[in-house]
């Protein structure tokens, strides 16, 4: 353990000396603050923590964390984070990305890191818009999004990030909200504890280009009725009075009373149940699920990679290049 980790750290210990350059009011501030606090409260060691990001507003995140940070190139953070983690599995690796970075240019790499189950925690800030390039629609924008690049409205159907991750066989899938520090922290802790890739979609407000796009879901006045929190081991209930619930049926899910609601266990739920829940918000009258959609154990990529190396060393003895060179059929000329 390093010296810094033996004394109790505070949020400030995770604040870097860099001036934060997001727009005033951006949802990123709240996420940053929650993360810095979570790091301190969870006893994270800054020397063993790495934040990797791609390109976009969200991807400036590593500069503001007083940990190791790697601000990389557009869409490729999953591949770079894979290399960081494989080369040193002792590191706690977090990846920060956005809806464009992860699901447009980097869709391929996101799919593959989830499939491989590398032990990296992924935070996808979803504001359903391109911020850094000034407001074009993104792969999570609803059909009909009118922006400068789509003056007559976008025509392509959006990704649902949760459904995407589940479709990639992700072992941990969750959703949270930028301004809900308590919920965010709960999800961070679960993701941190999970061995394998943890995928968290964070609904995040872009005050400049997509202000309050999520207000129908997260406004204080409606949130209790328009979100349903998936808590492992608890019933699927929601509503200001906690009187409403959901239960599984032949067609997926249906609304019911809280008393009739089903228990939610993301570790034992079938993939189809998790997927059905992820699709709930297709209907504007049903609440948007947040919380933990899936949390299952599976082989972790970098552990297996290193197990193979160790097995080969045990089997053949530690190799030296000298033995490689002086191998095979040889002959001598005097």
């Amino acid at each position: 353990m390093s010296e810094t980790a033996t004394t109790k750290l505070t949020r400030k210990d995770f604040v870097s000396d860099q001036e934060v350059r997001w727009c005033p009011g951006c949802g990123d501030y709240a996420i940053l603050a929650s993360m810095q606090k979570y790091m301190a409260d969870s006893g994270a060691d800054p020397a063993k923590t790495v934040f990797v990001s791609g390109i976009g507003c969200s991807s400036r995140f590593p500069y503001y964390m007083n940990t190791f940070g790697f601000h990389t190139i557009h869409g490729r953070a999953p591949a770079i984070a894979t290399g960081v983690k494989v080369a040193n599995p002792e590191l706690s690796v977090w990846m920060v990305t956005g809806d464009g970075d992860a699901l447009s240019i980097g869709g391929n790499h996101l799919a593959h890191i989830l499939r491989r189950n590398v032990d990296v925690n992924i935070l996808l800030f979803n504001n359903e818009i391109y911020g850094l390039t000034k407001g074009q629609y993104s792969p999570t924008s609803p059909v009909g999004t009118v922006r400068k690049s789509t003056p007559m409205g976008s025509v392509d159907r959006p990704f649902n990030p949760i459904s995407f991750a589940l479709g990639c066989n992700a072992t941990f899938v969750a959703r949270s909200i930028d301004t809900d520090a308590k919920h965010l922290t709960k999800v961070f802790a679960a993701a941190d504890a999970h061995r394998g890739t943890s995928f968290i979609e964070i609904l995040q407000n872009c005050v400049i280009f997509n202000k309050d796009f999520y207000s129908k879901v997260v406004d204080r006045s409606v949130r209790a009725d328009m979100t349903v929190d998936l808590n492992p081991g608890e019933k699927i209930i929601y509503g200001a009075e906690e009187d409403k619930g959901m239960r599984f049926c032949a067609n997926g899910l249906e609304k019911c009373s809280a008393a009739d609601a089903d228990l939610w266990d993301p570790a034992s739920a079938t993939e189809s149940q998790a997927y059905a829940i992820s699709q709930l918000d297709q209907d504007p009258d049903t609440p948007k699920p947040i919380g933990i959609f899936r949390s299952v154990e599976a082989q972790v990529y970098e552990q297996q990679v290193h197990q193979q190396v160790e097995a080969a060393v045990t089997d053949k003895g530690p190799g030296k290049f000298e033995d490689l060179v002086y191998a095979g059929d040889r002959w001598t000329i005097d």
């Binding site: 790495v50 601000h71 290399g83 494989v86 080969a312 060393v313 490689l324 002086y326 059929d329």
Partner: protein, 618 residues
Amino acid sequence: MTTTETPGADLPLQQLERVVIRFAGDSGDGMQITGNQFTQTSALFGNDLATLPDFPAEIRAPAGTRPGVSGFQLQFSSKDIHTPGDAPDVLVAMNPAALAVNLGALRAGGTLVVNTGAFKANDLKKAKLDSNPLEDGTLDGYRVIPVDINARVLDALVDSTLSTKDKSRCKNFYTLGLMYWLYSRPLEPTINWLKGKFKSRPELIEANELALRAGFNAGDIHELFQGQYEVPKTEELPAGTYRNMMGNDAIAMGLVAGAQLAGLQPVLGSYPITPASTILESLASYKHHGVVTMQMEDEIAAICSAIGASFSGSLGITTTSGPGMALKTEAMGLAISTELPLVVVNIQRAGPSTGMPTKVEQSDLLQAIFGRNGDAPVPVISCSRPSDAFELTIDAVRIAVQYMTPVVLLSDNFIANGAEPWRLPDLNDIKPFPVQFAEDPENHQTFARDEKGSRAWAKPGTPGMEFRIGGLEKDIDGNVSYDPENHQAMTDQRHNKIAAIAQTIPTPVLDGPDSGDLLVLGWGSTVGILTQAVETVRENGSSVSRLHLTHIWPLPNGLEKIFSNFKAILVPEMNMGQLTRVLRGEMPHHNFIPHNKVTGQPFLTTEVVAKIENILKG
């Protein structure tokens, strides 16, 4: 080797200095194995040799067609040789398509061993031949040895339990046996190879060995040839221990060695691509050397995972060919900007775009040196031959870690799959260059530079060193900076750092007089042909000198002085003049004459000789 103990020993035994054989057949006929076995046996016998595999990109193009023809040419010699030879002395044609595609290369009066069992009407049709070349006079002027290999191999395996189809697949070993008899080669190396290769299938060992012996015995029993030849072992190679080596294998070993010498774990991110895939495969089999290999989802992920590994303090490596290089360019810029070590291996193939994946070209040089956005310099090194690839790969690793930079290591299809004797290095001559990671946070700045212009390498996990780096322009602490003066300074520093590498590169050694009318300047896999061409020109009575570059960017010091003593500098390249452009840009006051060929085939020695003599004539 003596022939007196073998039957048919009354046939004359004639000594030859050098022989060029080309094996040609269908891509399913095992011609590459046949050629490699002949090569390996000749190497162990003590000949000098050089090889030229030439196969289609399609794994199994329709059988019997011209696009499906696979060839393997080798020259073996009792003298020091440099090329696989211009024109084969012997062509082995396993079917009409192989004959039609390769006959033009056979030297006048050369020997042609033809598998007559594959010349039925349907075979001729598949090869788009209107008449049978065995009968229509096409082969007049060649010494034709007709052998029904299809039938002979079935005869030889009459007692085998294999299916007829599997028996037929042994015909390449029958052919190999025939050639072993003709050139008095021992069978043991191939039999030993078979025993290792088919360890779990003893029936295949037995059948192939039978076919090999049957071919060998047919040589004298049937008196197919008028005699036997012998190419004595060479006395000209320098003393030492040798093994036969192919370029890609040498690079794989060099990467393991380089990482060990640097004290780092090698981490390869790669994506399969012809002709680089065998490096990934070799490294995957070296796990007991601590090698980590990740077969990633694409070329971009491959380099990015390697960059991530370097960020963590390992030696990041990625291997590819031209189209993959194109995809990696943005990520290379990130490694340049963050100044992380990385070895990028490009086994060049004919381009542009998908080009001709199994054919040779040197046309990625400008891409390697300049092909990125922004001012993004990287050192570029090129292997010349299988036997220098090991040491140059180690040098690529050295430069990457000592200068905190990506290094492009170029090779090509000819080196990758070609083989030659490799004199094994004296291990005492290989000096380690252990990496010292920065561990003291006191006064540490992420982009502070040492006397070489390189930054210190700190890695995550080191307490107190927490840094943030990225592709945005940064100041000395790694923090984002859009300051105009800072960008100029950082750009200058990155440029100067790469330029300073020239101080660690030896000036290449001239072959021939240090002044004269003409200097022949090459790089990469043309080395053998240019060496041979220059020797031939000298034998013809003219004076010419030769220089070969392995480190191309930055150019080594001392070139200006060498160049100034020659009236003209001929630059033969398998591209449209890429090195010529670089040289004209760097040293505009010399008379560079480009000589270019992009057929997907190496230069012929005669082509280069003609060009040189033409220039000398004035």
